[in-house]
């Protein structure tokens, strides 16, 4: 850990608004919806930085804008305004949302890895587990079948999927296995940053702990930076170095994870922490 390292990802003033907006939007927001024009501010002035090897946790209730942020970063849709700089894309000098479609594809394939809450969004369910990984490698430009098989084997072993099952389609796998295949797919091209969106939600406890353990090992082994969205504070406590709390599309509090959990300052964060079972 070096303090003079540049952030791997830096997001500045991200806004994702559904609707035209009006001059009075910001003064008339009820939660994140403008009472005058009806526009919804799904992400409202979000700024954050993720440093090398760091896990930045994002917590907040449903509809707070966590997944909106992740999906905007992964180009699932274009934001209304804002800037995101990646250390590994033009040395952090160009906004990724201004990149051409080809460049955005390159960023998705080579620099970022995304794991969705719903594996259906991240995997081709009818292709084999190995083909899912190979697809990502091919998208990054490689054509060597031997190397692809080698890499798929290595990654599936890393996520504890039996290589004897690498030819099977993920539709035949359990939810936990699908999540692990998704993680291995996201890691296929050694990304600088991994976006994890509620990856343990809906999994039973033993599978959850397997996935958490996997994330910890990935962080240690690859020194990868992780943006981790979860509404499970136990997950955040275990993995995140720093944490951001979101409410109604805005960041309302941020700090060291243990400080956020032990000494929360905002009313919503206190309510969230006090609800912890």
């Amino acid at each position: 850990m070096h303090l003079n390292e540049k952030p791997v990802l830096s997001v500045k003033n991200l806004v994702v608004r559904y609707g035209e907006g009006c001059p009075h939007c910001q003064e008339n927001l009820e939660k994140n919806r403008c009472s005058v024009c009806g526009s919804v501010w799904a992400a409202n002035d979000i700024s954050l930085e993720v440093y090398p090897g760091e896990v930045l946790g994002i917590v907040g209730e449903s509809g707070s804008g966590k997944s909106t942020l992740m999906k905007a970063l992964y180009f699932d849709f274009a934001p209304t305004s804002g800037e995101a700089l990646l250390r590994d894309y033009k040395d952090g000098s160009k906004n990724i949302w201004d990149a051409s479609s080809a460049e955005q594809r390159m960023i998705r394939n080579n620099i970022m890895g995304m794991v969705y809450q719903n594996p259906v969004l991240g995997l081709r369910m009818n292709y084999s587990a190995a083909s899912n990984i190979a697809e990502k490698i091919i998208a990054a430009g490689s054509r060597n079948a031997g190397k692809m098989t080698e890499r798929a084997t290595e990654l599936l072993e890393a996520v504890e999927i039996l290589t004897s099952r690498m030819s099977e389609a993920p539709k035949n796998f359990s939810g936990g296995m699908q999540q692990r295949v998704q993680i291995s797919k996201a890691l296929a091209n050694n990304p600088a940053i991994l976006l994890l969106d509620e990856v343990t939600t809906g999994l039973d406890l033993s599978v959850q702990s397997k996935v958490l353990d996997l994330i910890r090992k990935i962080k240690a082994k690859y020194g990868i930076s992780i943006l981790l969205v979860s509404h499970d504070l136990a997950v955040i406590r275990m993995l995140a170095d720093r944490t951001i709390v979101m409410l109604d599309g805005k960041i309302i509090e941020s700090g060291l994870t243990d400080q956020i959990l032990e000494d929360p300052q905002e009313a919503y964060t206190q309510q969230l922490v006090h609800s912890l079972i």
Binding site: M1, L3, D213, A220, M238, D258, Q259, D263, Q270
Partner: protein, 233 residues
Amino acid sequence: MEILVIKDLAKNFYLHNPGLEIKSCQNINLSLEKGQFVGIVGLSGAGKSTILKCINRSYLPMQGEIIYDSEAFGEINLATATEREILYLRRYEIGYVSQFLNVMPRTTAKEHVMSALLDMGVTAAEADDDAKEMLSYFRLPENLWDLYPATFSGGERLRLNLAHAMVKRPRLLMLDEPTASLDHKTKILVKDMLKKLKDKDTSMLGIFHDLEFMEGVCDKVFNISEGAFYGES
């Protein structure tokens, strides 16, 4: 030479619901010399742990300064240092040990102790050797080293906690009642380890129920209710 100087530290907790301010510690002034052990005493709820947590920045200090003489940064105010600076200091210079064990799922006892060293960049082989040495020292049976601590007894967990905090030999170590439920023999081991760390210039702030037991290790005692030091050995 002082490694830590706390000036006018105050910490209150404001609970939005029901709109209540809880006073914890006020006007705390204390200093810690390099290689010194300062014990903190006071009634339950007096704010002893709050002081340690403010230094560790698990709590945000409301007022005052916590000046730490860091190897990496020189003098730094822990009350206002950036999150990245605090994370750096926790990783390389400052240790904190409480009564509670916080372990990742599916992490064995040995891996837990090793993790403190691996985070510092120590090689896996070296971390493995040091972790084994520390676990042996605290007499955690060898057949438990490769098991997950979820099923360990309270005493075993505490010993694991101590091994994890002490294996990296921090410059500043904070101890929040880490021997609360240990047997006499293990307490003596803890005391001997604290002496060893002191000899290697680790400075310590500790909260112990039975400070008399720490005689020979503890240089000064700070009484939080009086806001002053008393007794020096």
